[in-house]
Symmetry: C2
Subunit: 304 residues, 2 copies
């Protein structure tokens, strides 16, 4: 089983409008709502790949109920700690191909609520901690949780930024920042140097159009995107994390070149799907068997 922990769960709402006219009254033509937050997206991808997953997080108020109901409807097993504060929403207004996102800050999490979440983490093949932190939870809390789980012998993949990335890195099996997050956190624009500064056993960096970079115990590896793709980049990084977790759960010795190629394939397939947490299955099947012959081929493509 793969367990994903989403510190700042959300209900991701999409409003379709013909045109967004600021300062006016806009009629919403259609409303879609899904449970969201990066850990949920990772779980969705893994579930589609046939893995056993469990979504952990905190949920409160009527929006928390809506998150629970949507996870049920999506067939995603979950164990959500009730929180006093109401779960946040994001509203994305889609008009003529342009997406305007409005993100609520989310409720402050009380120390006992976070402690209850920590207590609920079961033994698992792989654990993922992914996404932004709500008010009341700091990087130190994420590092402490990562350290506790590692001490139980559980491999943890952390997708975070800033303080959480920096502090959790030494205790994680791997961390996955994107290039921008890594540069902001370490102060260097060189991703290999930045990855080494984190002190994590393995660091996978998503470089956007340049694919993936991994700085690991057996060296530095790169995977270009399988081909240039355009679409929805939200969730591409979550697909990378899902591929890493899936590779780890498969057991056996980790082959980084293979893991990265698969992650780049899944990430590019996620860009081709309209919603975060989804991927284009046939594109993925096509991409994952097409091993690039050299790291320099296809460098102009986009994906992870």
């Amino acid at each position: 089983m793969i367990v994903t922990i989403t510190p700042n769960l959300a209900l991701d709402v999409t409003y379709e409008v013909t045109e967004l006219r600021p300062g006016e009254t806009n009629r919403v033509d259609a409303v879609h709502a899904r449970a969201g937050g990066k850990g949920v997206n990772v779980a969705r991808v893994l579930r589609s790949l046939g893995h056993d997953v469990l979504v952990l997080g905190l949920a409160g108020g009527p929006t928390g109920d809506a998150v629970r109901m949507e996870l049920e409807a999506s067939g995603l097993a979950h164990d959500l700690v009730p929180s006093a504060g109401e779960t946040r929403r994001t509203v994305t207004v889609v008009a003529g191909g342009e997406a305007t996102m409005l993100g609520e800050p989310g409720p402050a999490v009380a120390p006992d609520e976070w402690a209850a979440l920590e207590e609920r983490v079961p033994d698992a093949d792989v654990l993922v901690i992914s996404g932004s932190l709500p008010p009341g939870v700091d990087g130190e809390a994420v590092a402490r949780l990562t350290a506790r789980l590692s001490a139980r012998g559980l491999p943890v993949i952390v997708d975070a930024s800033g303080e959480a990335l920096l502090r959790a890195a030494p205790y994680a099996w791997a961390v996955k920042p994107n290039a921008e997050e890594l540069a902001e956190t370490t102060g260097t624009g060189d991703p290999v140097a930045g990855a080494r500064m984190l002190g994590a056993p393995s660091v996978v960096v998503s470089l956007g159009a340049d694919g993936l970079l991994a700085v690991t115990p057996d060296g530095v590896h790169r995977a270009p995107p399988p081909r240039r793709v355009s679409g929805n980049p939200t969730g591409a990084g979550d697909a990378v994390v899902a591929a890493l977790a899936a590779g780890l759960v498969a057991g056996g010795a980790v082959s980084w070149p293979r893991l990265l190629t698969d992650a780049a394939a899944l990430s590019a397939a996620a860009v081709l799907a309209p919603l975060a947490g989804s991927f284009d299955r046939s594109a993925y099947e096509e991409f994952r068997v097409r091993r690039p012959s050299s790291p320099d081929k296809g460098r102009d493509a986009a994906g992870a």
Copy 2:
């Protein structure tokens, strides 16, 4: 007791943002949510004036729960029929004084849900039916409900537009369109002629900056706004309806000049308050005692 029926209840959410940047990710600084829909606004104003009120409507899903909880918190008695569809939301993004509204269409109401709502209407001193209609409820349904309540000897005030206004008017004690709704419904820009076409015993028309007009069994009356006010016009019409209901519940012979002057005062005081359903109490106290000496004084002011 005054009962307000809101066919298309909503949760009115306000997002405060520093600046609304279309096509980008916008951080919401603060979130406010209130039960909404015109009938709820009318009930809120009446409650503030010290009246016994009961809010009737349909509510479903987690957003319906949020509406119930907010009505409780606001001290507004309610009897909401559970609906299969989830209650709609409106999201108003407020940035630097500019308000951008996004209105969800709301769920379709099933015939048995509407029938259950009709069954729940208790005897009351005054009934108000106010606001837009959800999918599945047409003007004919509103007219039938108005006729049934009138047949029970209950005075009904209807604030609606189009088909609902046209068909319910003959059965209502009074209807309250604004000038634009009246013109669209009757096809004439002359509000006195339009009001007469509706065939209601009394028609109160809000004329915006020109105040109020009433076409009644004892003649045509006008009330200018007490003074020029600027602020939030949303809810000004609901304050007019609240004033009419309050005047009617007071008993005794209806004095239309007095009723209209009070309605114009409450409406102007509502413009001065930031949220629909609220009014500036001290302004109202000041405005309601200031009887204009002639209908032509203060005609340049804005209010209802």
